[in-house]
Every structure is written in structure tokens, then in C-alpha cells.
């Protein structure tokens, strides 16, 4: 009977379903709200510096000296670029062969041990890499290169490069693994050796996945704070010559972490650190959007498989 089908209980249930759906909708909206809030508060505090010092002076200024109200970000930019390049080089040199080994050469037994181990190492806190860098790497570099202090751009690059090896290996291994089997088998059937298959088929097919992994890793390296803060020396100056990686430096993140504690709330120094954070945020967001676009393209290309 129709009346029974729409009894009190059913109507309550419908309301309940509506209520729950709107509740879930609110939780889903929350991340948009949070993102807007993060951007708004960073911009709100950072824009003031741009307004009072001028965009060109801030970004292309060659001196960062909070005590004389000089907030040129060129030293930070150069140092971040140097650290990131070094770290990425080490990271790719070791991470990509590791990924190829895991995806193509490792036996199932080896894979069963190595993959969880690499997953585990992915979670090692960055401050621990900082501790190891301070106690082991910095004195070692100081000794072997006869430097004034081992805290240098080089040390930062090495620590960050090693730190993100597990991440790089995991993502690249996924990219290699996702290449359809038919491609590899077809190549093998034509008589290509394993390495020929990897070089001519698997790597080109996975190239967009690997480049998205590299871009994500650039974002990670640029955004990493603690490890680099402890080993980089945190002195913002443009090294002379520009490629002098044995000099102390300061990256975007390390300058924020190192100087925010001593900056009085509301001062020019405080707001300029927010401006650095804003630039960092915009940079990393652009990188992650690019990586996302690449991933979407991959899905389209291999969608049929």
C-alpha cells in the first residue's frame, strides 16, 4: 500500500539521508575553504612588504639584511636554485636506477623486502636527516675540502638529495610499472634484449610519469625545511662566483624557519618573511599543477589499457 511505503520512518530516513549528504558536502567544501584561507592569510601578510618596498626591488634586490630593512630576495632565489639543482642531480642519479632495478630486474623475493623498506624510509622525519647532516656530513665536508665551515650549499644539496631518494624511487617505479605489459612483450618478441626494451620502449612510455615525479620532487626539495635549515648555514648572500657551492647560503624555507623566531610580529621583517612564504607557495603550487596536468595526460594516453 502506498501510504505504508511513505510512512514516518521512511520520511525520516529521507531527511536523514539529505542531512548526511549536506554534512558530507560541507566536509568536501572544507578543503577549498582551507586552501583559500592559506592563500589569503599568506597574501594578506606578504603583500604589505611588496607595497612598501616595491616588487622589483624585493625580487631583484641583492641584499637581505633585516636590520637595515633590506629585503632583496635574489640571494634566496640563487641559493634555492643551487641547492635544488644539486639535490635533484644526486636524487636522479641514484633514485632512477633504483626504480628501474625495482621495476624490471628485481626478483619477487627482493621486491618483497625492498619495497616495504623503501616505503618505511619514505617516512623518516626530516629533522633526523638534519641531525645526521650536522653530526656526520658537515664535519666530513669541512675536513675533506678544508673549508671554514662545512655548513654549505653543497651539504644542503647532498642531504636533500639523499632524503628524497625513496620518494623518487617509489614514484618512478610506479610510472615504470604502469607501462602496459603488451609494449614490453612486443619488444621482447621482436628480439630486443631487456635493456634495449627498457631504453627504447619502457622509459619513453614512462617518460611523462618520470617527469611528473621529477617535478613533484622539485616541489618537495624546494619546500623542505628542517634538514636544509640545519646544514646550509642560513646566511643569505649571493655566492661569488655564482656557482660557489662551498659557500654558506639560505634557501626560501631556511630563511623563514631561521628568522621568524626573532622577527617581531607586524614588523617589516615579519611581513617580508611572509612574502618569501607567498613566493614559495605560488612556486610550489605551479609545480604541483604542472605535475597534475602531466598525470591527467598519462591517464588519457594509457586509458585504453
Amino acid at each position: 500500500m502506498p501510504q505504508k511505503a511513505f510512512g514516518d520512518k521512511t520520511i525520516w530516513r529521507l531527511y536523514n539521508a539529505r542531512f548526511i549528504e549536506s554534512l558530507l558536502f560541507l566536509t568536501a567544501i572544507s578543503s577549498i575553504v582551507f586552501m583559500l584561507l592559506v592563500f589569503y592569510y599568506l597574501a594578506d601578510n606578504g603583500i604589505q612588504t611588496f607595497r612598501s618596498f616595491g616588487v622589483i626591488d624585493l625580487i631583484f634586490g641583492h641584499k637581505w639584511n633585516p636590520y637595515n630593512n633590506l629585503f632583496g630576495m635574489m640571494p634566496l632565489l640563487v641559493n634555492t636554485l643551487l641547492v635544488t639543482t644539486l639535490a635533484l642531480f644526486i636524487n636522479m642519479l641514484i633514485g632512477i636506477p633504483l626504480a628501474i632495478y625495482l621495476a624490471e630486474y628485481a626478483s619477487p623475493g627482493e621486491k618483497g623486502i625492498l619495497k616495504p623498506a623503501i616505503d618505511l624510509l619514505n617516512g623518516v622525519p626530516s629533522i633526523i636527516y638534519g641531525l645526521l647532516g650536522v653530526i656526520i656530513l658537515v664535519p666530513y665536508l669541512q675536513d675533506s675540502f678544508d673549508m671554514i665551515t662545512g655548513r654549505s650549499i653543497l651539504a644542503g644539496g647532498i642531504v636533500l638529495g639523499i632524503m628524497f631518494i625513496p620518494f623518487m624511487a617509489t614514484i618512478c617505479e610506479d610510472a615504470l610499472h604502469n607501462v602496459p605489459h603488451e609494449f614490453k612483450e612486443g619488444s621482447m618478441a621482436l628480439g630486443a634484449t631487456k635493456w634495449q626494451t627498457i631504453r627504447n620502449i619502457t622509459l619513453p612510455a614512462a617518460s611523462s610519469g618520470i617527469s611528473s615525479a621529477i617535478i613533484l620532487n622539485v616541489g618537495n626539495i624546494v619546500g623542505e625545511t628542517m634538514a636544509v635549515l640545519l646544514v646550509v648555514g642560513n646566511i643569505p648572500k649571493i655566492p661569488t662566483p655564482v656557482v660557489d657551492i662551498f659557500d654558506r647560503g639560505a634557501t626560501f624555507t631556511s630563511i623563514i624557519a631561521g628568522q621568524m623566531g626573532e622577527a617581531a610580529a607586524g614588523s617589516h621583517h615579519f611581513h617580508s618573511l611572509f612574502a618569501v612564504g607567498l613566493i614559495l607557495l605560488v612556486l610550489v603550487t605551479i609545480l604541483s599543477v604542472i605535475a597534475d596536468q602531466i598525470n591527467i595526460r598519462i591517464k588519457k594516453r594509457f586509458g585504453g589499457y
Binding site: 578543503s31 632495478y101 675533506s144 639523499i162 619546500g223 625545511t225 610550489v284 603550487t285
Partner: protein
């Protein structure tokens, strides 16, 4: 087919001698990598390298000569004079390095000091780099000789390279773990784990830090888990397509990439003026940081639930929420739980976002009614404690305590990650649709 058959006559020249050269190159490779970190005796290692250089140069030239004479048709090298030229250049290069080293043409105190660089490249360092490069050269030539310049030789070389770097990566990562374990285990005792620190970290333990981390992470999870799981469910079950879900997806991937220190700045700008420096601010920031991870893992694990379950439940007359609640959530629980634990571990290991919101206090966390923490008080944190100890290290001796703290932190984080991996593997084996 003649090319692939190795006759006993030229086995000696074709296989044994280049293999010996390869062995020499392997020795050079290992010793040149290890020479600097271990700081071996320079005079001894130089003599060792000279002997290896000379012997491998002789071995290479003899084996090339024998192989070329032994069976001329089998050697592709003869047909391609370029390859012979390369081999001769390689051998001459090795001999030059040997001569320079043996005749002591360069003063051992010699060092390069570039204009403006704050570093000196000592003779030992340059020399071991040269040995490193020449070991790779010898390895290439000897393997080419073994395989008669066939494509398979290249394959072997590349597999060797890949294996080598995989091993190096695993060695580095293993070393990191064992260094922490080895240095930290000495500091761990019951007192270290059960007492607050005193005298700025020189004495006492880390109980307040463990407590602070525990509460911060717990409250962060209470904040982020409902939001994250809820929006994961909404995105995957309720709105299949549409503008809002696309916007949310973009927001989540943006939040996922935001550097942790930016969250710290955000907390400083928005939350600290409202709540002051307190436990609740740190927890909200950590929860916010974890939100994207939880949303993404929830979506992933909902994706793995097959559609037949949803359709079957709907066919029985269940409403959407009933289906989600009774059918889909239990099936996706292991994935969601894994994501939660991983994000908890990440929150426990983050320093940057909370470094201005926690304090280096030895006071225990105050409780209301004996078990609910007072969220308006500032607390200590394991990561922050470790950071402070690293800062103090130049001034006084806190290294043992720093290693101990690092070990506790690492153990905590790795244990949680391990649990997540075990849950995931367990359910992956058990559940099959």
C-alpha cells in the same frame, strides 16, 4: 655462428685476462669510493692503485693482442679501426696516470684552490676521483673484450651500473637507519623515557615531549579524520562529476603540495592571534596538513570497492547512506585506516609547521578532570626538542640525548608506518573480490 663459439685456444686471451682486468677495476672502484670516507693511509693506497693501474693496462693490451691474433675473423674490433684506436688511447691514458703517480711528478701536498671558492681540492681527492674514472674505463674495455665488442657487453655493463646504484642507494638508506640505532641505543633507559628534561636538555629525559607529541597528533587526527574521510566519501560516492568535485580535487592537490613551513606561517597569521601559542593551534595545523593525504587515500580505497557491491545493496532497497555505511565503508576500511596511520606518522615527524607554536618546556601537560588535556596551554614536542638539542650542541654536550631523542622519534614513526604496511599487505592478500 663462428663468432659466438669460444674455442679453448683463445679462451685464455679472450676471457681470463680481461676478467682479471675487470677484477682490478672493481678493486679500484671500491677502494676509490671508500678511500675518502674511511681516510685510509695515503701512501699505501697510492702504491696499491699504481700496481692495479699498471697490471690492468698490461692485461688489457695483452688480451687485446692475443684475441686479435688468435682468431681474426671473430673479432669485430679488427673490422672497425675506431674501436682499436679507442682501446689504445684508453691504455695510453692509464699508463700516463701510472707514470705521473709512480715517478711522483706531482707533489703530494699539491692542492687546487680556485679563485673565490671557499674550498680546497687536495691531491688525494683529485687522485681518487681520477682512479674512480679510470676504473670505469677499465671495466668498460675489459667487458667489451670479453664479449668481443658485442651488444651484450653493453647490456652487462648497464645492468651492472643499475645494480650498483641500487645497492648504493640501499646501503645509504640502511646506514642512516643503523647509525641512528647504534648511536641512540646507548641513551635509551627507563629514566630517559620517564623523566622530563632538566638543565636545558643536558640531563633528564623526554617524557614531556612524548606526551606533547601524543596529544598534538591525537587531536590533529580528531580534526582531520572526519573532514578527510567525509570529503573522500562525498567526492567518490555522492558527486561523480561536476564543477564542485573538480574544484575540490584541485584544492586537495594544491594543499598536498603546500610546503609544511607555509602551514606554519598560516598558523602564525590566523590561529595564533585567536588562540595564542597553544596545543590546539599546533593540532589544527597538523590536522590541516594531513587532510589531503587522508582525502586521497580514502578516495583510493573507495575506488577499489567494486561497483557490484553498490548495485547489489541499492537493488535490495538500501538508501545511499545505508549502502555507504553498511557495505562500502567496511570494505574500504583497511585502506582508510592505512592512510590515517601514515598521516599520523607524518604529523608526528613534522617540525617546520609547529616550530613557533610549541615551547621547550619541561612541565607535564596539564589535564582537566585528570585525562582531558588543557588545549590552551603550550606543550613540548619530540621534533622540536630534537631541534633545540641540535642548536645547543655547539654550546654544551647534549649529543647523546639528541641521538636518543632521534631514535625514539624514528622508532615511533617507523613503527606506525610498519603497522600501516602490515595492514595493507594483510588485507591485500585476504580480500579478493
Amino acid at each position: 655462428m663462428e663468432t659466438s663459439i669460444i674455442q679453448p685456444k683463445d679462451l685464455y686471451g679472450k676471457f681470463l685476462l680481461p676478467s682479471l682486468a675487470f677484477l682490478a677495476s672493481a678493486l679500484m672502484f671500491l677502494s676509490s669510493i671508500l678511500a675518502l670516507p674511511i681516510q685510509m693511509d695515503v701512501q699505501l693506497i697510492f702504491k696499491f692503485w699504481e700496481a692495479l693501474l699498471l697490471s690492468s693496462a698490461i692485461l688489457l693490451s695483452v688480451s687485446a693482442f692475443r684475441a686479435a691474433r688468435g682468431n681474426p675473423t671473430s673479432i669485430q674490433m679488427i673490422k672497425d679501426p675506431k674501436k682499436i684506436r679507442f682501446l689504445i688511447v684508453d691504455i695510453l691514458l692509464l699508463l700516463t696516470i701510472f707514470l705521473i703517480s709512480f715517478a711522483e711528478l706531482i707533489d703530494p701536498k699539491f692542492a687546487i684552490n680556485f679563485e673565490g671558492l671557499d674550498a680546497t681540492f687536495s691531491y688525494e681527492m683529485i687522485y681518487s676521483l681520477i682512479i674512480f674514472a679510470s676504473s670505469i674505463l677499465i671495466a668498460k674495455d675489459s667487458i667489451d673484450l670479453i664479449y668481443s665488442y658485442h651488444q651484450r657487453g653493453r647490456e652487462v655493463l648497464i645492468v651492472l651500473y643499475i645494480r650498483l646504484f641500487a645497492i648504493i642507494a640501499i646501503l645509504i638508506l640502511g646506514l642512516i637507519f643503523f647509525t641512528i640505532l647504534y648511536k641512540g641505543i646507548g641513551a635509551i633507559s627507563w629514566e630517559f623515557l620517564s623523566q622530563p628534561h632538566s638543565k636545558l636538555g643536558r640531563e633528564g629525559g623526554i617524557v614531556t615531549c612524548i606526551e606533547g607529541t601524543f596529544w598534538a597528533v591525537l587531536i590533529a587526527t580528531l580534526v582531520s579524520a572526519p573532514l578527510g574521510i567525509g570529503s573522500g566519501i562525498y567526492l567518490h560516492e555522492y558527486s561523480k562529476s561536476g564543477r564542485i568535485s573538480r574544484l575540490v580535487t584541485i584544492a586537495v592537490s594544491c594543499l598536498n603540495g603546500v610546503p609544511s613551513i607555509v602551514y606554519g606561517l598560516f598558523g602564525l597569521a590566523l590561529l595564533v592571534p585567536i588562540f595564542g601559542v597553544s596545543l590546539v593551534v599546533g593540532s589544527i595545523i597538523l590536522g590541516l596538513m594531513n587532510l589531503p593525504t587522508i582525502i586521497l587515500t580514502t578516495q583510493e580505497s573507495l575506488k577499489s570497492v567494486p561497483n557490484s557491491l553498490r548495485e547489489g545493496s541499492a537493488a535490495l532497497g538500501a538508501t545511499k547512506w545505508q549502502t555507504v555505511q553498511k557495505i562500502i565503508l567496511p570494505s574500504a576500511m583497511s585502506g582508510i585506516l592505512t592512510g590515517l596511520i601514515v598521516s599520523v606518522a607524518r604529523a608526528a615527524g613534522e617540525t617546520a609547521p609547529i616550530m613557533w607554536i610549541v615551547v621547550f618546556t619541561a612541565a607535564p601537560v596539564e589535564k582537566i578532570y585528570g585525562f582531558i588535556p588543557d588545549v590552551t596551554q603550550p606543550v613540548n614536542n619530540l621534533c622540536f626538542h630534537l631541534l633545540q638539542l641540535i642548536y645547543f650542541m655547539g654550546a654544551w654536550n647534549v649529543e647523546t640525548n639528541a641521538w636518543g631523542t632521534a631514535l625514539v622519534l624514528l622508532g615511533l614513526v617507523l613503527a606506525m608506518n610498519l603497522i600501516a604496511i602490515i595492514i595493507r599487505n594483510h588485507y591485500r592478500k585476504k580480500v579478493s573480490w
